[in-house]
């Protein structure tokens, strides 16, 4: 206790130096937090946009469907399973979808298309599909006999809202499927590819068309906290009959996206590393000066009977105090800033905005307020302060009292 108090008092012998060092820690922590929070926010935004209209963060489907998406792997998902999923904390929506391929034809033109049967009201509620509408209207009811087309597909087929689209394909167990639907609206989705290929039909119509009553090819799960996805998946797996079904995370569904993010974040981690390296030198300089200018004092302390290890402990406390002060101030302000930007995302302008829009992504820089953004910085700074104080500590252990007294 005495030594902890001494350490604290020692910090204020050169108040300015301590404050400057603490401030450098403070700014580094804030910058690292903002950097990390905004990149994570961008990733989260990207992932969210990417998965919402394809798989959900998690997807349940019949075994093998992901590797070879065949309509023959469509199935009736038991209400029991759906009930279990809905009751699980963490999951905000269980969205059945029917995915297949069809030939879509308009006035004269025909084109292969990706076919998606969805429950319109459910998509509206949980993925906001209606917000992607760029012309026409969104189906009013889940049983409406209408289709929505990707905007580029529609223009290729020469169709606009109100026209009729003809869908021809293979139904469940190879029955022939063909139907005529009024085009209710056109969609601008997250990827150019989808815009050129997608046809949406209410699930109910899709089941009729494909002769697959009550069936779906997958259940997309929207979740509360993307950061806790893996844990959630681990919790869910025991409930799922894995002889028949599989539960996949978006990382398994889209490994390329995961790889891209991993590679991209490596760059950011290196940048934070450089930032921390810079403050490390500042901190080390202060710690060394604080130790050197007290050599005589350490000599006195040793002659009084204070063990070197306890002097080293005092230095350790001093270093931890400086970093803790800078770090806690940095985390507190960083938290406020992140919270502010989380609630008020920065709108993008100009070409960046165009680019985001063309991918159907909200044109904002949103920041993530995941707790690990903060805890990681705190741990890194604490670790640095513990590692750096090692240098003056070694000097204390080598201290010769007489030489110290004479200095």
């Amino acid at each position: 206790m005495l030594l902890v108090r001494l350490a604290w008092l020692n910090l204020w012998r050169n108040r300015r130096r301590t404050l400057i060092t603490g401030a450098s820690v403070f700014f580094a922590v804030i910058m690292a937090i903002i950097m990390r929070a905004s990149t994570l926010g961008i990733y989260d935004n990207l992932i969210h946009n990417f998965v919402s209209f394809s798989s959900g963060y998690l997807q349940v489907n019949q075994k093998g469907f992901h590797d070879e998406p065949s309509l023959d792997l469509a199935m009736v998902f038991s209400p029991g399973l759906i009930g279990i999923l809905k009751e699980e904390g963490g999951i905000t929506a269980v969205i059945p979808r029917m995915q297949s391929f069809v030939l879509a034809a308009g006035s004269g033109q025909a084109k292969g298309a990706l076919f998606m049967g969805v429950v319109p009201s459910l998509e509206k509620q949980s993925t906001g599909l209606h917000r992607r509408l760029c012309a026409g209207s969104y189906p009013e009811s889940d049983t409406a006999q209408v289709a929505m087309l990707g905007v580029d597909l529609a223009s290729r087929l020469g169709l606009k809202p109100g026209d009729t689209v003809i869908l021809i394909g293979q139904g469940y167990h190879a029955v022939t499927a063909a139907g005529k639907y009024r085009v209710s609206g056109l969609l601008q989705l997250g990827s150019p590819e989808l815009n050129q290929r997608i046809v949406y039909l209410p699930l109910h119509c899709a089941q009729q068309l494909l002769d697959a009553p009550g069936m779906a090819t997958s259940l997309a799960l929207q979740i509360e906290s993307p950061a806790k996805m893996e844990a959630l998946a681990r919790r869910l797996r025991p409930w799922i009959d894995t002889t028949q079904l599989e539960l996949l995370t978006w990382k398994q569904l889209f490994p390329e996206l995961d790889q891209f993010i991993t590679a991209d974040s490596a760059g950011h981690i290196i940048m934070s590393g450089v930032l921390y390296l810079v403050i490390s030198f500042g901190l080390l300089g202060t710690l060394l000066m604080m130790a050197r200018e007290r050599t005589h004092e350490f000599g006195i302390l040793v002659s009084l009977g204070l063990k070197r290890s306890r002097i080293a402990f005092m230095l350790l406390c001093e270093s931890v105090f400086i970093s803790l002060m800078g770090c806690s101030a940095g985390i507190a302000s960083g938290w406020l800033l992140v919270r502010w930007f989380h609630l008020n995302p920065i709108p993008l302008g100009g070409r960046l905005k165009e680019m985001y829009l063309s991918y159907g992504i909200e044109p904002v820089i949103s920041v993530s307020n995941r707790p690990d953004v903060f805890t990681v910085q705190a741990m890194v700074v604490l670790f640095i302060s513990l590692a750096l104080v090692f240098v003056p500590m070694v000097k204390v252990f080598q201290l010769q009292p007489v030489a110290a007294l004479n200095s």
Partner: protein, 232 residues
């Protein structure tokens, strides 16, 4: 009372420094014997080895040969770790200047060693109050060293050295930074504490007015004891 108990027994003490060109014999075969309650001065010209001798006796430095027995313990054979503990409990030090911990008040400085020893608060406070009175520092008890005069700082240092009732107080030129008035006062104080607390003092000096107050004067020249007298 246990009179005439040996507190310091140094035997054939030699310290050779490996100087830049030639080795320097700072202490050369010194025998020294101090009984409990003595008030002895080590004198001699600059470079004669006074500081070195006190450092060796206090275990701050290790002799090249010879040994030191303090209050029955041969400190020259103690491990570094045990030696520091021995100092904590049995030796008080006063140096020429800057003895005090700058961030602590006079009161806290005096109590510092006792706190390190882990003594209970109440007994520390009692002893500190007593010493503050003895060194006439009650009024400045809560002042930090930077705001004390040199004489006041040295008085606090003496009080701290005595606080845990060590067997011996070693003082290396405690008056060197003081004017003669303050030097005299400090010596009077040390002499009084030596009598009242019955603690052995060994101090070095080359101030003739300080030497006068010593009851035993050990003179060093070139690391050797050339005379050992008891004036008066």
């Amino acid at each position: 009372m246990e009179q005439n108990t040996t507190v310091i027994d140094a035997h054939e003490l030699t310290k050779i420094y490996n100087g830049r060109q030639v080795p320097v014999k700072a202490i050369d075969g010194v025998h020294l014997h101090l009984e409990e309650g003595e008030f002895a001065a080590v004198v001699g010209p600059s470079g004669s080895g006074k500081s070195t001798l006190l450092h060796l006796i206090g275990g701050l430095d290790t002799p090249t040969s010879g040994n030191v027995v303090l209050a029955g313990t041969e400190i020259t054979r103690l491990s570094e770790h045990k030696l520091i503990d021995f100092r904590l409990h049995h030796i008080g030090f006063v140096f020429q200047a800057y003895n005090l911990v700058p961030v602590l008040t006079a009161r806290e400085n005096i109590g510092f060693v006792m706190q390190l020893q882990g003594l209970p608060r109440s007994s520390i406070n009692k002893r500190v109050d007593e010493l503050l009175a003895q060194v006439d520092m009650i009024e400045k008890a809560d002042v930090k060293p930077a705001k004390l005069s040199g004489g006041q700082q040295q008085r606090v240092a003496v009080a701290r050295a005595l606080a845990s009732r060590p067997r011996i107080v070693l003082a290396d030129e405690p008056t060197a930074n003081l004017d003669s008035v303050n030097a005299g006062k400090l010596l009077d104080l040390m002499a009084r504490l030596n009598r009242e607390e019955h603690i052995t003092f060994l101090f070095s000096t080359h101030d003739p007015r300080v030497i006068e107050k010593a009851r035993r004067v050990i003179t060093l020249v070139d690391g050797r004891v050339v005379s050992d007298t008891r004036p008066g």
